[in-house]
């Protein structure tokens, strides 16, 4: 789930240990900043924890929360061009606080946080998927986040408040406390430039925005979403320009300590339905690959009018229907799903628009556009789309796993 994505920053550490001489940009490998310490609730460096619900204050809370170790702004979306060609995109900005108690420094390069960003584009008709990652210190203008006017950037990857809103065709929802945004990302021969307009108000997940991730108090995050952003703009790929529109989803989450001991990964699903309702669902998996029932499953159902409620524990079940094995990393991921929600008497089946949507950068995970059909007819109007994230299914090098398998 998006909620756990900042764990990635820590996972980098492990990934880079395996390829210490890799000549790519990114933070250097380190031994000591391990998963357990980073997510297991170390009191180091004076960070606060998410212990109890708090009032959200916008636009201030759209900005960074320096007292918490990890934070991210997360945008995914499904877009169609005029001919109905489908594209999926993911743009994520991670902030990783280094030391809340760091001394005041005179250099403007002195960093208290590192930013990491991921950008991925799925071209479903071309069956192609490309992903990129960047790192930068939250200093010297390289990367950062500002609440008002809202701007989150890492070099020229940027999400910012739209300065002029009068020309917008789509109207912002009157209760949505988020300004229309402009998302701009350029990498190699890809350029994405989108306007995102919130057409539903914010959704506070869990207990009024406190999303518990374990049985221990403080193993939690503050988590809200804008689940329906009307999106419109242009996409340049390989010299071709597409006018695109569709729906995006924004998550903003911050925490200091979330992961409980024994957990290795998660499955996270966001779905947007034609009737203007949405679903967020995640489950945590333990080392045995089983769903952690105590702390592991939760979700939020959002009604067309924006009202929402958390799913009761055990109410939803996510069942993998097939697997896909990455040629690059030899890791197998579930690749088709059935999601059952008992209380709503709902059974949903969905699958990736492209099987290969694996990020194999500093960290390895699968995140991609999915779609499914409501009912049995399979008409276009009944199609729903969303994004799925799968982590903890293996590391980059398959050998250690093989080695482990040998008694």
């Amino acid at each position: 789930m998006a909620a756990l994505r900042p764990l990635s920053l820590v996972v980098i550490v492990l990934a880079l240990l395996g390829c210490g001489r890799a000549r790519r940009e990114g933070p250097p490998a380190t031994h000591t900043l391990g998963v357990a310490e980073a997510l297991g609730g170390s009191e180091r460096n004076g960070f606060e924890r998410a212990v109890e619900p708090r009032p959200f204050d916008f636009p201030r809370d759209h900005g960074p929360h320096a007292r918490f170790r990890t934070e991210w702004w997360y945008f995914t979306g499904n877009l169609l061009d005029l001919d109905g060609r489908h594209f999926g995109f993911q743009a994520t900005f991670f902030r990783n606080g280094l030391d809340a108690l760091a001394a005041e420094r005179s250099s403007s390069w002195a960093a208290r946080e590192i930013f990491m960003a991921h950008f991925a584009l799925t071209d479903s008709s071309a069956k192609s998927f490309r992903s990129f990652e960047r790192f930068g210190r939250g200093a010297a203008g390289i990367a950062g986040a500002v609440a008002d006017p809202l701007r989150i950037w890492l070099e020229d990857w940027e999400v910012s408040q739209l300065p002029v809103v009068s020309e917008l065709v789509v109207q912002t929802h009157p209760n949505a406390r988020l300004p229309p945004l402009r998302l701009r990302l350029t990498e190699e021969d890809i350029a994405l430039d989108l306007t995102l307009v919130p057409v539903k108000p914010e959704v506070l997940h869990g207990e009024r925005g406190l999303s518990r991730k374990g049985s221990q108090p403080g193993n939690a995050s503050y988590y809200y979403s804008f689940t329906r952003l009307q999106s419109e703009g242009t996409l340049n790929v390989g010299g071709r320009t597409f006018a695109v529109d569709g729906l995006s989803w924004m998550d903003h989450e911050w925490s200091t300590s979330v992961l409980e001991e024994g957990l290795v990964g998660w499955n996270w699903v966001s779905l947007q339905f034609p009737d203007r309702s949405e679903l967020m669902y995640f489950e945590l998996r333990n080392a045995d690959g089983e769903i952690d029932e105590v702390s592991g499953t939760t979700g939020t159902w959002i009604e067309p009018d924006g009202s929402h409620e958390p799913l009761a524990p055990g109410d939803a079940t996510l069942t993998p229907l097939s697997t896909w094995t990455s040629k690059e990393t030899a890791i197998s991921y579930p690749s088709r799903w059935r999601l059952t929600i008992n209380s709503r008497d709902l059974v949903l089946e969905f699958e990736p628009t492209v099987a290969q949507q694996e990020h194999a950068g500093a960290i390895t995970y699968w995140e991609g556009a999915v779609s499914g059909a409501l009912g049995t007819s399979g008409e276009e109007a009944k199609t729903f789309r969303g994004y799925v994230e799968l982590t903890g299914y293996g590391d980059r090098a398959p050998t250690p796993r093989v080695a482990r398998a040998i008694p």
Partner: protein
């Protein structure tokens, strides 16, 4: 080779071990000198290249602008414009004071951004070491990492806090972690390196808001690279430029090229002497066996076989001598390396060298010279031996006749070589051509030695006769009669002594020129500067004295006036042969009054007008080396890169400056401050109140102490306050250090020549054993034999000494007027010290007489009967 002939060769060496030993000594000395110089030069440069590699990494290009660097926001702007890979760098030198009381070490402080730098430099080892935490590296002020062995050398361990000195300030750093590198060459490249975050580097080096450079990696085809560079250039402020990173190592090589070439030339002079020696030795080895070889021929051994035998012997001596020479050279190189490194540190850049390297190319040069010279040396006598008819012996007089007949030809060849050499020297080509010319001229002049010897003998015979009667006459005639033997010995000695004279004259002239320049340029009573690491052109803007501090010392009792200078690195843009070039240059911004100005000696241009133009901020003064190298004349237009753009200026005058061979431009202090925004001064010169009676004179030491006290009040600054006398002495010390290597080489050349003359004279005298036997049989006493031999060798020494004077003068003139002028662009006034010349004569005489002692002893001891039998 025929086995019995081989045995014959071995027998010969067994019977004459001294001959083989001298030949070996000659070859190995010659080879040792060349190998050691090559190795010392090469190792110093290789060490610099390695440490450069650690600093430059895989960067292909860099964005930079002299010591003012580039604004640090530029990095984010470039990244946002898609310029990547790219990495910011802040680099400077800091002084690490060792607990042991040893002199402080200069360390490179390299500030990097670990998030973007991995592409350029491998920190895998650094960042995966135990104890390394990225968060600490980024957030903890003063955190550095360094290589494990380097840390050991500084007695540092993880967790240690230590102080470094940056200009007047002491900054505290902390060892976050050390890392291990297994590859020895990578390890030695990291010896003086502290890696730190860019923020820490900015803070430690007081370089807030700026970067030393931005490293780039631009790959692909030339056209693509150029297009990319053009694209990047459009994004840059006008003051910055994109240039290849390789220029850094190239610049280092270029900066020291003249220096290294000079050393190499000196080492070649040594081998020139060595070649004479080898030739000499081999000639005698063959001549000694004329009889034997003649017998062999009579027995039916073919010419080819004899030729092969002789050349085989020569090769054997060459190979063994070369091997010994390489070993000795390796040892000598370790000694010389310290000197070469010191000189490079004094004048060019900071480099620390731990190991002597002997690359294959150096070995090849050594072998080529050692074995080649041995074979060539043996060729002519071998041919002489086989050319003879197969009869018992070739009459010695016949050889002498032939030599005499050959004299005009030798002299003519010499004249031709000398003319060709002079031609090359006058041709304004590259320095290596000048050196070739120099050698041709020397060889050519050496060819005149036999003729000159004959003439001198004729001149000196009456004197010798008057001094020593009949014996004197016999001695003089002896020298002339055996020209085939004496000429080479005299030539070897002459060349060696003349090189010694020439080098001595050159150093003396240079030193006295620099000394008088220093005296003129240091008119103030006291000089105040900061103690700190030497600044080279790759480090950030050097620290300096602030305006407040200067104002405070101006108020100190007894101080009349304070002048200041700021020295930084800039890029100077000019045109040379129609091409725009930019030159890394030293910029000196002066705030001077009348006396300060008089200290700057103008070479070309009207001083009054020149200073007016400089004051008006319209012009610069260019130093002589700069002007010489880049064809600048009074009135030339140049541009200087400033943080705000290119500043067009005119060259108002050329001034003498022996401080920097790279050259410097002098500008007005206010012009500098206006355009570079840097209010600091690198040094201040203090004039004391000089009016009043003698008794009321201000005490220099008291004022110096008052200045130090002011400095201590201002944040505990450490300043150096030195009198003009001390400063001058220090400068001359550096000068003398520079020429230590030269002096060592000069000594070695003489040593080679002395060995040569010893072997030549020994062989010559032993060859005359029968002649001496006849004289003994006719009543010559052993004492008279002594006198005869010693006066003969003494005469040779005297002749060599006399001939070396003009030759030495020619060498000095060429070195001063051509070699040094072209290398460094400096004018020197020739200064001749008669005492030194007499000393050189004495050297020649002494070497020759010493060399005659052993043969004299041998010959005086042999009973006449035995001598008559020819053994």
């Amino acid at each position: 080779m025929n086995r019995s002939l081989t045995r014959l060769s071995l027998r010969h060496f067994q019977r004459h071990p001294w001959q083989a030993a001298l030949a070996l000594l000659g070859v190995s000395l010659g080879v040792a000198v060349v190998v050691s110089i090559e190795a010392a030069n090469g190792s110093a440069l290789a060490a610099f290249e390695l440490s450069t590699e650690a600093l430059v990494g895989r960067a292909t290009h860099q964005i930079a602008s002299g010591s003012s660097g580039v604004p640090d926001q530029l990095f984010a702007e470039l990244r946002s414009a898609g310029v990547r890979p790219s990495a910011p760098v802040v680099e400077g030198r800091v002084l690490f004071e060792q607990a042991s009381g040893a002199p402080p070490r200069v360390l490179n402080l390299l500030g990097v951004d670990p998030l973007t730098d991995r592409v350029f430099r491998d920190y895998a080892a650094a960042t995966s070491s135990p104890g390394f935490e990225l968060a600490d590296f980024l957030t903890r002020p003063g955190a550095v990492v360094l290589e494990e062995q380097a840390a050991g050398l500084l007695s540092l361990a993880p967790g240690d806090r230590f102080e470094v000195r940056v200009g007047a300030n002491r900054e505290e750093l902390e060892v976050l972690a050390t890392f291990r590198v297994d590859d020895p060459s990578t390890r030695s490249s990291l010896t003086n390196l502290l890696v730190t975050d860019i923020a820490t580097a900015q803070e430690t080096l007081d370089f807030l808001g700026r970067l030393s450079r931005i490293d780039l990696m631009i790959g692909g085809q030339d056209a693509g690279v150029n297009a990319e560079i053009d694209h990047i250039r459009k994004l840059l402020p006008p003051s910055t430029s994109v240039r290849p990173s390789s220029t850094r190592a190239d610049e280092a090589a270029e900066m020291t090229r003249s220096f290294r070439l000079n050393l190499r030339a000196l080492s070649l002079l040594a081998i020139l002497c060595g070649a004479f020696l080898i030739y000499n030795t081999m000639t005698f080895a063959v001549i000694q066996r004329r009889h034997e070889l003649g017998t062999l021929r009579a027995l039916g051994v073919t010419r080819a076989q004899i030729l092969l035998t002789v050349l085989g012997e020569a090769s054997l001596i060459g190979v063994v001598g070369t091997i010994l020479g390489v070993v000795a050279g390796r040892v000598l190189a370790a000694r010389l390396l310290a000197q070469v490194t010191q000189t490079i540190n004094d004048h060019y850049f900071v480099v620390s060298v731990r190991d002597v390297e002997l690359p294959a190319s150096t070995l090849a040069v050594g072998f080529l010279l050692g074995v080649g010279a041995s074979i060539l040396g043996a060729l002519s006598p071998a041919l002489e031996a086989v050319a003879a008819a197969p009869r018992a012996s070739l009459q010695r007089s016949e050889i002498e006749d032939r030599v005499r007949q050959a004299l005009p030809r030798i002299t003519l060849t010499g004249a031709f070589l000398a003319m060709a050499g002079t031609g090359l020297l006058l041709w304004p080509g590259p320095l290596s051509v000048a050196f070739t010319g120099f050698f041709l001229l020397l060889l050519g002049l050496a060819c005149f030695i036999p003729v000159a010897t004959l003439a001198l003998v004729r001149l000196l015979t009456p004197a010798a006769a008057a001094l020593a009667g009949g014996l004197g006459r016999i001695a003089a005639r002896g020298v002339a009669a055996s020209m085939s033997r004496t000429a080479i010995a005299i030539a070897a000695l002459t060349v060696a002594v003349s090189v010694s004279i020439g080098v001595d004259l050159m150093i003396r002239s240079f030193r006295s020129t620099v000394d008088s320049w220093l005296t003129a340029s240091l008119p103030a009573d006291l000089y105040v500067s900061l103690e700190g690491a030497p600044v080279d052109r790759f480090s950030v803007r050097p620290p300096g004295l602030g305006k407040d501090f200067l104002a405070r010392i101006a108020r100190v009792d007894g101080i009349d006036r304070v002048n200041t200078v700021r020295g930084v690195e800039v890029n100077l843009v000019t045109e040379q042969r129609g091409r725009r070039i930019d030159i890394p240059t030293r910029l000196l911004a002066y705030d001077l009054d009348r006396r300060g100005r008089e200290a700057i000696v103008i070479k070309e241009g009207d001083p009054v007008k020149a200073w007016e133009a400089v004051d008006a901020g319209q012009a610069v003064l260019a130093s002589e080396p700069l002007a010489y190298r880049y064809d600048l004349v009074v009135g030339s237009q140049i541009e200087l890169e400033t943080p705000t753009g290119l500043l067009p200026l005119r060259v108002a005058a050329i001034h003498y400056d022996y401080a920097s061979e790279r050259g410097a431009v002098l500008v007005d202090a206010s012009l500098y401050e206006r355009n570079w925004g840097d209010p600091l001064a690198t040094a201040a010169s203090i004039y004391l109140v000089s009016e009043g009676r003698e008794t009321e004179r201000v005490d220099v030491d008291v004022v110096a102490e008052a200045i130090r006290a002011e400095a201590a009040r201002a944040n505990g600054m450490d300043v150096l306050v030195r009198s003009n006398r001390v400063l001058r002495a220090l400068s001359l010390e550096v000068f003398d250090r520079t020429f230590v290597v030269t002096r060592v080489l000069r000594f070695l050349a003489i040593l080679v020549a002395a060995v040569g003359i010893l072997s030549a004279l020994t062989a010559l005298q032993l060859e005359r054993i029968r002649e001496i036997g006849v004289l003994r049989a006719n009543g010559l006493t052993p004492g008279q034999v002594w006198a005869l031999v010693v006066s003969e060798t003494g005469l040779m020494g005297l002749i060599a000494g006399i001939l070396a004077l003009p030759l030495g003068w020619v060498i000095a003139v060429v070195m001063i007027q051509v070699i040094n002028r072209r290398s460094f662009g400096w004018t020197m006034a020739m200064e001749v010290d008669p005492l030194a010349l007499l000393g050189a004569m004495g050297l020649a005489l002494g070497a020759a007489i010493t060399a005659g002692l052993y043969p004299a002893y041998r010959m005086a001891k042999i009973p006449p009967a035995e001598a008559l039998r020819g053994r």
